[in-house]
Symmetry: C2
Subunit: 290 residues, 2 copies
């Protein structure tokens, strides 16, 4: 099976699991808002990377850890809901559908995001199959990669542009906003898969590099992608005066940097037991048109 | 020492510890915003209850668990920052100081709240003194009490008023918005203090009841409190058409209900080794003028 098809199948598997783990309760509108954003589609890259990283170090009991993979998508979804808010990126559409605050109002969108974050940690800490010491490590990696030293810090930098030049700025933003979360997913997979410390560290470097390549490719697709295939308007970043790789380095240099990150990522994980799927994912990240 | 003085001393101890654990990093403005709200004062009731609950079951190594107590205040602070946002309660002042979004802007206030939540879980999962199985339980209790089945759910209910009548509505709101978080703090203290299951459950009931009494007293003070002592305007809830106990039940009945909750709370914890401080805290909650 080609990697594109394989990833599609994996995303469908994750979609089914997300539906299983969607929380139910009252107030109805809060739970509806969370479910709305959780089922809005997407590549499900983060949960897939958790599971594939675990498999790459030889782990097979995927059903024991899939709730943790799902939790990573809860965090990703919270970040999208908050990113779309009027005070942030002010987006009314995501993947062709009205954003959470357009449908449910700003207050409920803020709370749906807050609640998805806490529920991710509730879900992970409810897992009874993984030993507690590993769960604590997983929670630490996830909180770190998605918090003030990771995703939240990167999002703040994207708003503030505190750095002295665009090269430092874009590197800080992409590393923190995107790559550190993806890095933590690969490390989490390594921990859950009972990988050796050396393997977990290799997965961390792999995750950081593919995270950067992923964000560069996102920037490139925003610049030159096919609007129909992407299901969204292109050149949005430029309209919003967002710092992107093509804007800072030009298209050709951006493509080259993404390729270098991918090859570097591939290099890191050759020590793993079964690195093939991760290697294909890395290469696919810069080939994708969506 | 009188309980009022004792609580003041404990709040000062917690304030010192908060300063120790305030995260540092870049982007500067994000970290400044978090520090600003973390050091804006307050009773520090939640961390104090974690520590006092641990002591009540016979625990003495407070320094080993104080980071977890501090983390609860990080969560409380995130909830205040988000509650104050224009899309939520739209408050420009808190404890006489401009709210986070007034000083740092809405985007950074949203991210400071998000980041305080994730950093709370990062802090707890970084503790090396408490055994991992207990840390997982603590994280689960905290995420549950402050998430969609607790504080976040209550805040959503406070905005939505989905219930059929005001009696059900106010009970749901106060139980979820305030009492469940306070309940989880008391349970967390019981877990960290190596309490027996029976003791942890007693602390949970105690926490739920004092949480309700605390919120009723807050409502009463908003209605008849001394603006100078409180450091804020009273009758704000009424202006904002918030559902409060005095609005639903009248002042006298509200006072009586708060007293009953407190006596019920006291009854629960008589089985503990050293319940005296917790008993005094319960009684003080409805005597307080601030």
């Amino acid at each position: 099976m080609e990697i594109k098809e394989y990833l599609k199948k994996q995303a469908e598997y994750i979609n089914g699991k997300i539906r299983e783990y969607i929380p139910e309760g009252i107030p109805e509108k809060l739970f509806d808002a969370m479910a709305y954003s959780l089922t809005a589609g997407g590549k499900r890259l983060r949960p897939v990377l958790i599971l594939e990283s675990a498999k790459a170090v030889g782990f097979e009991k995927i059903e024991d850890i899939v709730d943790i993979a799902v939790a990573s998508e809860f965090i990703h979804t919270y970040s999208l809901i908050h990113d779309d808010l009027p005070a942030m990126d002010d987006d009314e559409l995501r993947r062709g559908k009205p954003t959470c605050h357009i449908v449910y109002g700003e207050a409920i969108a803020i709370l749906a995001g807050d609640g998805l974050q806490s529920y991710a940690f509730e879900l992970i800490s409810s897992n009874k199959k993984v030993p507690p010491d590993k769960l604590v490590r997983v929670i630490n990696l996830l909180a770190h990669g998605t918090g003030i030293y990771g995703m939240v810090g990167g999002q703040a930098a994207d708003i503030l542009h505190e750095k002295e030049n665009a090269f430092d700025d874009i590197q800080f933003i992409h590393t923190h906003k995107t790559a550190k979360f993806i890095q933590s997913c690969c490390q989490i997979g390594g921990v859950l898969g009972n990988g050796a410390q050396e393997e977990i560290e290799a997965l961390g470097r792999y995750g950081l590099y593919i995270g950067l390549a992923f964000q560069i490719q996102d920037d490139i697709l925003d610049e030159i992608g096919d609007e129909k295939k992407l299901g969204k308007k292109t050149k949005k970043d430029r309209e919003k005066n967002k710092l992107t790789y093509p804007a800072v380095y030009g298209l050709e240099k951006s493509r080259q940097m993404a390729r270098e990150y991918v090859e570097n990522a591939v290099e890191q994980i050759k020590i793993l037991k079964s690195p093939d799927v991760l290697i294909n994912i890395a290469r696919y990240i810069i080939d994708r048109e969506v």
